[in-house]
């Protein structure tokens, strides 16, 4: 399973049209253990820079991570 560290994050309040129903939602750039970075949604508890996160699942092509 993919894991990584939160490189940066934000909570989006003003969403684009297709994600209005999801707002507010947390978005993070995750530095993956295996190398590289990925922009992902955070499921559940809010995270801050440096937090360890684990991959949960892909939903409609969007990767979701959760605080480890």
């Amino acid at each position: 399973m993919k894991s990584g560290l939160v490189y940066t994050e934000t909570v989006v309040h003003a969403a684009p049209e297709q994600f209005i129903a999801d707002a507010p939602y947390q978005l993070a750039i995750v530095s993956l253990e295996e190398g590289g970075r990925l922009t992902a949604r955070i499921d559940g508890e809010r995270v801050v820079i440096g937090d360890r996160v684990d991959f949960v699942e892909d939903r409609n092509g969007i990767p979701f991570f959760r605080k480890a």
């Binding site: 940066t8 934000t10 969403a15 684009p16 922009t39 949604r41 820079i49 969007i62």
Partner: protein, 386 residues
């Protein structure tokens, strides 16, 4: 390479104009510019137009000849440049290139965007098209979200605070209130800026530039012909356009825009000046954090010192290095495709001594920095009084 001069400028007001269409705005700016240089449409040898998303915002394509024709300019190359928010900066770079190379003498470079006919969520979605739609945008990133993530990381690495971001907004509104062509001509307080509606944390509505309609144009020609058109030419001392990856998550360090750093280095070298020589600048404050990153990347302050520099008031009209005397994108407005050329016009107002209440005492060397997306395109221009 031939030296190039700006021989005329023209701008519409920036704002929300429900009764104006895209073409009429671009035509107004173009005609004002031609009148400023006493040039007739038949003398224009090329029309270079910056526009980000006319097809999405208003459903019109083939924009350059569409607008040029309405001004009576036909039979010459008319080309649209798209580089997100740096669209007209890019048009300017290529216009200068063509004059410097000797392909053309008199080139009209313009920018236009008509944004306010769409709802804010729709505008947010169209703007997001300047990001990576297969990655960050698909995951739900908006432009405020991308810059919010830059802000968070900048805060984490350098101790930048919410107050430092707010200081940028307060200062730019202070300047914009003095600009008759600005979209939002009102001052705001630090308390207002800190307590705005959250858009994408930590950014509030007061950290975000405005959704605006507007157009701007400049006329360029070889420096040795400038006197035929104007007694107040402005010299293009340096101009450079560079690029970087589109997706924010592909950049090693998101607290700096590598494209800005490299464009600045090239422009300084071409102009034969250093960052310390620059007297004033228009920088791309699409978000407050972007102004802080810009003044660092341009070499005005050390990396990490941008926030404290802004908070100390050093970038105000009365400070040692006035930044965004026009009010910036924050207060003047940000009709995306018009912004790059709009910045050039704002430098020219200062260089010619025509900036009214905002006029600076030292106004012979200015710099403009135009950013596309989250830093995939950067254009840096250095202009000097002749």
């Amino acid at each position: 390479m031939r030296p190039v001069a700006i021989i005329g400028i023209g701008k519409t007001a920036f704002g929300a104009f429900p009764d104006r269409d895209l073409r009429s705005l671009a035509v107004e700016a173009g005609q004002k510019c031609l009148a400023d240089a006493h040039v007739s449409p038949s003398q224009v040898e090329a029309y270079y137009l910056g526009n980000f998303a006319g097809p999405s915002f208003v459903g019109q394509n083939h924009l350059a000849p569409y607008i040029a024709g309405a001004m009576g300019i036909t039979g010459v190359p008319c080309t649209r440049f798209e580089a997100a928010c740096a669209s007209s900066g890019s048009a300017f770079y290529h216009g200068v290139s063509s004059v410097a190379a000797g392909l053309n003498d008199v080139v009209l470079v313009a920018g236009v965007e008509k944004m306010t006919s769409q709802t804010t969520p729709k505008v947010t979605e169209i703007l997001a098209g300047a990001g990576d739609t297969c990655g960050e945008v698909r995951a739900g990133a908006t432009f405020p979200a991308l810059f919010a993530m830059i802000a968070r990381r900048h805060m984490y690495q350098y101790g930048t605070t919410r107050e430092m971001l707010a200081a940028v907004a307060v200062k730019n509104h202070e300047n914009g209130a003095k600009n008759p062509l600005a979209h939002m001509r009102k001052v705001i307080t630090m308390a207002q800026a800190l307590n705005g509606k959250p858009i994408s944390e930590p950014l509030t509505v007061f950290d975000c530039s405005l959704i605006s309609d507007g157009a701007a144009a400049v006329l360029i020609a070889p420096l040795d012909r400038a006197a035929e058109f104007t007694d107040k030419p402005v010299k293009v001392l340096g101009v450079a356009q560079t690029s970087d990856y589109v997706a924010l998550d592909q950049k090693d360090d998101i607290t700096t825009f590598r494209a800005v750093v490299t464009a600045a280095q090239k422009a300084y070298k071409m102009a034969g000046v250093t960052p310390q020589d620059i007297q004033f600048a228009e920088v791309h404050d699409c978000f407050t954090i972007a102004e802080i990153v810009a003044i660092e990347d341009l070499g005005f302050v050390k990396k990490g010192d941008g926030g404290p520099y802004e908070l100390a008031g050093c970038t105000r009209l009365t400070g040692p290095l006035p930044i965004n005397t026009s009010g910036g994108l924050k207060s003047k407005g940000h009709p995306v495709g018009a912004t790059g050329v709009g910045q050039i016009c704002d430098l020219v107002y200062q260089l010619r001594g025509e900036a009214g209440e905002r006029q600076l005492a030292r106004h012979s060397l200015g710099l403009a920095q135009n950013l596309g997306g989250s830093g995939a395109t950067a254009v840096v221009t250095i202009l000097g009084a002749v």
